[in-house]
């Protein structure tokens, strides 16, 4: 659905690097994906916590929606656990607990967040998994990808196709398509704690329904069955988070974080970024901070491109005026941005790039229209799966959208329950783009006997 670029403002070579997430061109006009993109924006914009990935800006250029997020220089937890498993070792306990503690703190902030317009808290991430936990080489931990997060008030209870999140990290109530609250994320935290401390998958089977069956039936080995030396007190925390009945779990992610901290203190374990960084350095060679191999070319005039767009959006503070395919040290595409907010753009003088890094036009400031991708044909991800942190931490992103119900993105399903009423112009636009549900709606009052 989306591709992610490394990016920095044009003309500011000393700027930190950002992650620029764009809807893939062939999804750019699909209202479901646009709505999903906006869902993430609505929730993430304004969130500010050291354990949550910040969204710094967003906009639309040349018909493509984009958001600018902070870049985490490191890897995702999935890669760390996978590498640990390949080496047939177990994650160090202090590091594993530090990661889960940080994730719990970040999620607690999300759960408590009243939204950018204020109001009662009630957001649920719904997709807490190792792929969405980004870990910096400095040991920092950030939860990413709010693409399927939602306000509690808007969780659905009856659409089977609306099962969201990654298999193996769903809560029992998610598997049954029941109403969710923050305790659903607490369950996922329990899975994360189990897997991070044992270095093994908890719920794992040949197919999704078998996995979901394991979850709803609580068919799993308690930690001490997998490892008799697993601390009893820690097992109690895991089992409490994994309770099938949400009433039996920790009331909040914060309460679970407190329990982890208390356990660590009792064990004399020192938690924190250093423990994580040390674990990471034992697994993954440090990589230099992404550098741009070539000075971006002078941005061509945006006028022809803008003129080609039927309904040009309002000017963005971050217009993407050029994108160049330069293999960066981390193997992703590099996009170039320019900042024009509050000042005149001062594009750098064009300098000849080395032949090996000759910039090739990627996104459209070319007079030639981009070749349209064939409809409904999945495109290979433009991002190395091992660098999934740049893909919203989610190598499964595209696949996961397959189960999303178009109705979930229907008008009125605003993610932020406190959002002000949209403007007239926005309402008109939404009416035009309101997706038609392609699946029969499930209606308790109007049963439709099977044929």
């Amino acid at each position: 659905m989306a591709e992610v670029f490394l990016a920095r403002p044009i003309g500011d070579p000393r700027s930190v690097v950002y992650a620029l997430k764009c809807i893939l061109p062939h999804f750019a006009d699909d209202p479901r994906f646009v709505q999903m993109f906006h869902r993430e924006l609505t929730i993430a914009t304004g969130l500010c916590h050291p354990n949550l990935v910040s969204v710094l800006d967003h906009g639309r250029e040349e018909g493509r929606h984009f958001m600018v997020m902070e870049y985490v220089h490191g890897a995702d937890l999935a890669k760390l656990l996978r590498t640990t498993g390949e080496q047939d070792v177990r994650p160090p306990l202090a590091a594993a607990l530090s990661v889960v503690l940080a994730v719990a703190r970040g999620l607690h902030h999300l759960h408590e967040w009243p939204g950018k317009h204020g109001g009662a808290p009630g957001f649920v991430h719904r997709d807490v998994s190792p792929s969405n936990v980004l870990i910096g080489f400095d040991g920092s931990v950030k939860v990413a990808d709010f693409g399927v997060a939602t306000a509690t008030a808007h969780t659905r209870t009856t659409d089977a196709g609306g099962v969201k999140g990654k298999m193996g990290y769903l809560s029992p109530e998610q598997c049954r398509s029941e109403a969710l609250d923050r305790r659903s994320d607490v369950f996922a935290l329990g899975v994360l704690l189990y897997e991070s401390t044992l270095g093994e998958r908890l719920f794992y089977a040949e197919n999704d329904y078998a996995v979901m069956h394991q979850i709803v039936s609580a068919e799993y080995d308690p930690p001490r069955e997998r490892d008799p030396e697993y601390p009893t007190e820690l097992e109690a925390i895991v089992l409490k988070a994994l309770a099938s009945a949400k009433e039996d779990r920790f009331e909040t992610a914060g309460a679970m974080a407190d329990a982890i901290e208390a356990f660590a203190e009792a064990q004399g374990l020192t938690l924190g970024n250093e423990a994580i960084a040390s674990w990471m350095s034992s697994l993954i060679p440090w990589e230099p901070y992404p550098a741009f191999a070539a000075t971006p070319p002078e941005p061509p005039s945006v006028t022809p491109t803008v003129a080609a767009v039927p309904a040009p959006p309002p000017p963005s503070r971050w217009p993407m005026i050029a994108a160049i395919a330069v293999p960066a040290s981390v193997g992703v595409l590099v996009a170039a941005l320019v900042l024009i907010a509050g000042r005149d753009p001062d594009p750098p003088a064009p300098s000849p790039a080395p032949a090996a890094a000759a910039p090739a036009p990627l996104a459209a400031p070319s007079p030639q229209p981009p070749t349209p991708a064939p409809p409904n044909v999945p495109q290979p991800a433009a991002v190395d799966p091992d660098l999934a942190l740049l893909n919203g931490g989610n190598a499964e992103f595209e696949g996961d959208t397959a189960l999303l119900d178009p109705a979930d993105f229907a008008e009125g399903d605003a993610e932020d329950p406190h959002s002000p009423a949209p403007t007239t112009q926005r309402r008109k636009k939404r009416r035009r783009k309101k997706p038609k549900s392609r699946r029969p709606k499930y209606d308790l009052d109007a049963p439709r006997p099977p044929q």
């Binding site: 995702d76 937890l77 999935a78 890669k79 656990l81 996978r82 640990t84 498993g85 390949e86 047939d88 190792p130 792929s131 009856t158 659409d159 089977a160 196709g161 099962v163 990654k166 298999m167 598997c175 049954r176 398509s177 897997e195 270095g199 093994e200 998958r201 794992y204 089977a205 040949e206 197919n207 999704d208 329904y209 078998a210 979901m212 069956h213 709803v216 039936s217 799966p385 999934a388 190598a395 499964e396 696949g399 996961d400 397959a402 189960l403 699946r439 029969p440 499930y442 308790l444 049963p447 006997p449 099977p450 044929q451």
Partner: protein
């Protein structure tokens, strides 16, 4: 169905006589069924096992004497491929559990089944509780419209055992759905017409 079987027999005979075109027609006819057979159970390797099944059919074509329908013969080979995979997979799972973090999701393609209603979702959750041979019996009976004698041929068991196995599978589905649902309209509707709901999981041509 009888006409299709007769047609199948003629095509098999032609295939055995060397007509690649006849083989192509049979493969095209049953490819979606075999793919679905694997897709709901082992989606990660569904494509591979489907290919292997048809390859095995082609290689063993000379031994097919027509005692059973071609469809039974085909699903018998598919079952063997499935069981072989499950055995090797069980051996590999201890290692997989340690490294299967991240990576693409392998979800059953929703185009293969009509899991767009809560009732279907619940049936599939309950279906996961069945043993592989119970799953196969249910699938062939409800989705492939095969007779108990054809299913007996696939599972290599007596017809009476097929009947018993189907009955037990229905019981498991019933109990599991009771466990998964609260008393109410969904449960009543599902249990009241469990056969029809199970059958409706597979898209059928309009008649």
């Amino acid at each position: 169905m009888a006409a299709t079987q007769a047609d199948d027999s003629a095509l098999v005979a032609a295939w055995q006589a060397g007509s690649a075109e006849a083989g192509g027609v049979l493969v095209q006819r049953y490819y979606p069924n075999v793919r679905r057979f694997f897709d709901v159970k082992v989606p990660r390797v569904a494509e591979d096992l489907t290919q292997r099944t048809f390859l095995a059919v082609q290689e063993s074509l000379g031994r097919f004497r027509g005692e059973s329908s071609f469809k039974s013969y085909l699903f018998g080979i598919a079952r063997n491929q499935l069981l072989r995979h499950l055995r090797s997979s069980a051996r590999a799972q201890a290692f997989e559990r340690k490294v299967a973090f991240g990576g693409p999701s392998h979800r059953t393609s929703l185009s293969m089944i009509v899991a767009n209603r809560q009732e279907h979702h619940l049936i599939l959750l309950a279906y996961a509780k069945l043993s592989p041979d119970q799953q196969i019996a249910v699938e062939l009976f409800y989705w492939e419209d095969m007779s108990t004698s054809e299913i007996a041929s696939v599972l290599e068991i007596p017809v009476s055992t097929v009947t018993t196995r189907l009955s037990r599978a229905r019981g498991v589905l019933h109990d599991k759905i009771v466990e998964l649902t609260q008393p109410g309209a969904v449960r009543d509707r599902l249990l009241g017409q469990l056969d029809a709901w199970t059958r409706s999981l597979v898209p059928r041509p309009q008649t």
